[in-house]
Symmetry: C2
C-alpha cells in the first residue's frame, strides 16, 4: 500500500488537490457545503428548525506543535483550534470526541499535562469530552484528533454569501503565529456569535492557512478582493519574523498559517461606521480592521492592491502534506 515512486503516492497531490480527489471518490456520500465539506463546519438540519454544526481537526507532534510548546499548551491548542471552527460559523460548542494516537513511549507525565491543558480550555469555553478512543503509533509519534458538535440558534454564517460591494474585515492582527500565537490564541467564539446575530455579516470564516489561501473562499465568482494594504493589521510577530526570514511582514501576514482570526464580509448596505462602533463597544479588546472590499473583476487574480490596481503576488498559504 506504500510506494517509493513519488508519482504514485499521495505526496504527488497537494492538500487541496487531495481533498478535491477525496470528494470525487466519495461522490454522493459526501454532500456539498453547507450540509457537508467545504466550510469551517458542516451544517446538519435537525427537526424543529434547529441546526447542528460538526467539525474535526487533529494536532500532531512535529506538525502542529514541537518541543518548544508545553504539553499543557498543546492540549489547549487542540481544543481551541476546533472551537475556532465553531466560532467561524457563529456557533456555540456542544460536545467533543477525542482520539489519541500515540507511541507507547509517550511520557505519562507529559500526557497528564496535555490533559490539564485540555481541561483548562474545556472549562473556559464550556465544552465536555463525551467519548474517545486510543490507538497505538510507532514510538516517538503522537497525534490527537478532536471532533466537535455545536449548534446555532440563528442560521450559521457560511463562507459563501458575500457579494460585490461587501466590505472585508479581519479581527486581531496577522502573521508570525509560529512565534507564539499558534497555541496561545483565543478562539473568537463570542465575536462569531455576535456576528451571527447581527444582520450585517454576509460571510464568515477563520484564518487557519493564511489570508492568502483562505480569503479566496469568501470571494464570489467574477469578483476579486480589492485590498488596502496599509489597513492589513500586521502583528508584532510578523515584524519580528521579517527581521530574520528575508520576507516582509506583509508576506508573513498573508502567507503564515494559524492566525485563528475571523475573516468576514459585511453587506454593502451596512452603515460601516455604525457596525464598527457597535463592535468596539462589544469587543473593546478585539481589533477589527476593514482590509478591503469585494468588487466585480474580469481579472483572474483573486487579490488586487486597491492603490496600484495590481494583482497581489501571494495567493497561496500554508500547505499540509508536504514533507518537512
Amino acid at each position: 500500500m506504500f510506494t517509493k515512486n513519488a508519482d504514485e503516492s499521495i505526496r504527488a497531490l497537494a492538500e487541496v488537490a487531495l481533498i478535491a480527489q477525496i470528494r470525487r471518490w466519495l461522490g454522493a456520500v459526501a454532500p456539498s457545503s453547507p450540509q457537508g465539506m467545504g466550510d469551517d463546519c458542516a451544517v446538519v438540519d435537525w427537526p424543529k428548525g434547529m441546526k447542528q454544526i460538526l467539525t474535526t481537526d487533529s494536532l500532531s507532534y512535529g506538525q502542529h506543535f514541537d518541543d518548544s510548546v508545553s504539553a499543557h499548551d498543546a492540549g489547549a491548542k487542540l481544543i481551541k483550534r476546533n472551537l475556532s471552527d465553531i466560532a467561524a460559523m457563529g456557533g456555540r460548542p456542544g460536545e467533543a470526541l477525542l482520539n489519541l494516537l500515540s507511541g507507547g513511549d509517550l511520557q505519562t507525565d507529559w500526557l497528564a499535562a496535555f490533559f490539564d491543558g485540555i481541561c483548562d480550555a474545556c472549562q473556559e469555553y464550556d465544552l465536555t469530552i463525551v467519548g474517545g478512543d486510543i490507538s497505538t503509533l510507532p514510538n516517538g509519534q503522537f497525534t490527537a484528533v478532536l471532533s466537535l458538535t455545536g449548534y446555532s440558534e440563528k442560521t450559521p454564517l457560511l463562507r459563501k454569501g458575500a457579494q460585490a460591494g461587501d466590505a472585508l474585515y479581519v479581527t486581531g492582527t496577522l502573521g508570525g503565529s509560529l512565534l507564539k500565537k499558534h497555541y496561545n490564541f483565543k478562539p473568537r467564539l463570542t465575536e462569531g456569535q455576535w456576528l451571527a446575530q447581527s444582520m450585517a455579516c454576509s460571510a464568515l470564516m477563520d484564518i487557519t492557512d493564511g489570508l492568502a489561501k483562505d480569503l479566496r473562499e469568501l470571494i464570489p465568482d467574477g469578483c476579486a478582493a480589492y485590498l488596502e494594504l496599509s489597513k492589513i493589521p500586521l502583528s508584532d510577530a510578523a515584524h519580528q519574523c521579517a527581521n530574520t526570514s528575508g520576507q516582509s511582514a506583509m508576506e508573513h501576514a498573508f502567507c503564515d498559517g494559524e492566525d485563528y482570526e475571523l475573516l468576514l464580509a459585511v453587506k454593502n448596505d451596512t452603515k460601516l461606521d455604525i457596525f464598527e462602533r457597535q463592535w468596539r463597544q462589544k469587543f473593546p479588546s478585539t481589533p477589527l480592521s476593514q482590509i478591503g472590499q469585494i468588487r466585480k473583476s474580469i481579472s483572474k487574480a483573486p487579490y488586487i492592491d486597491s492603490q496600484s490596481n495590481e494583482a497581489m503576488p501571494w495567493i497561496k498559504g500554508f500547505e499540509h502534506l508536504i514533507d518537512p
Copy 2:
C-alpha cells in the same frame, strides 16, 4: 515527551488503566455515562426530548488491518465498526467526520480503493461523510479516524440496566474473527433498533474486545454471569483457529476481539420463548443464543460455568496499546 524508561511511559498502563487515568485527569470535563464515556456511544440530550448519540473509532494499518485485507475492505471496516457502536445503542446513524493520517508514501490507488469501500458501506447503511481533516504521519503509517453522530427515537439501550434474573443473549457466532470476520461483518443495526423498540431488552452492547472482556460491562454489582458453555455459539472460524493455535475454540470465542455481535440482557419477566420466536420471525438469518443468566453472587468471579458452578478462567479479552 517520549522516554526510553518504560515505567514512565504510557506503555506501563494497560488500555483500561490508561482510560481510567484519562477520566481522572479530565474530571468534570468528562461526564459519566450515559452523557459521556463508558458506553458504546455517549447520549446527548437535545431539546424536545430527542437523544443524539456520539461515537468515534479509528482504524490503523498494522493494528486493525494488515496487507491481507484489501483497501476496499479496510475502508468498509472503518465505517462498519463505528456503525456497530450505533447498533449497540439501538440507534440510527446520522453523519460522519473522517480524519486521515497518512505517510506521504501512501499509494493513491490504494487510497482510492479505501474510499470505494467507505462509499459502499455508507450507501448500504445510509450514512454521509460531512467533514474531515488530513494530517501527515511518517512514511509507512496510515490511520483513519471516524466520528459518528446518530440518534434514537426511543431511549437508547445502555450497558447498565440489567438485573439479577435477566437472561443473557448473543447474536451470531463468536471467535476467530481474525480469519475474516473482523472486516466482513455486518453491523447489527436493524437488530439493535428492534431491541430498542421492544420492551424486553434491559442492556445492550456490541462485542469488540471479546466476550471475556466485554460481558462484565453488563453485570450489575453483586452479580455474576452464569454461563451455559454448551450454548456459547462457536463460529467455524473459532474451530479453525483452534486447530493450529493451541487454544480451544471456546477460548477463541471468549478471548478473540472484533466479533461485532450484539450482547444483551433480557428482562427477567419476559416470556423468553415468545421473545425468541419474534426474533426468528424478524431476523431469520441472524442467530440469537441464550448463553446464560445474570444471578446474584458472592463470588468475585464475573463468569461462572452454570454446570460445574466453577469460575471461568477467561476474564480478559483483547488489550490495545501493547507492543506487537
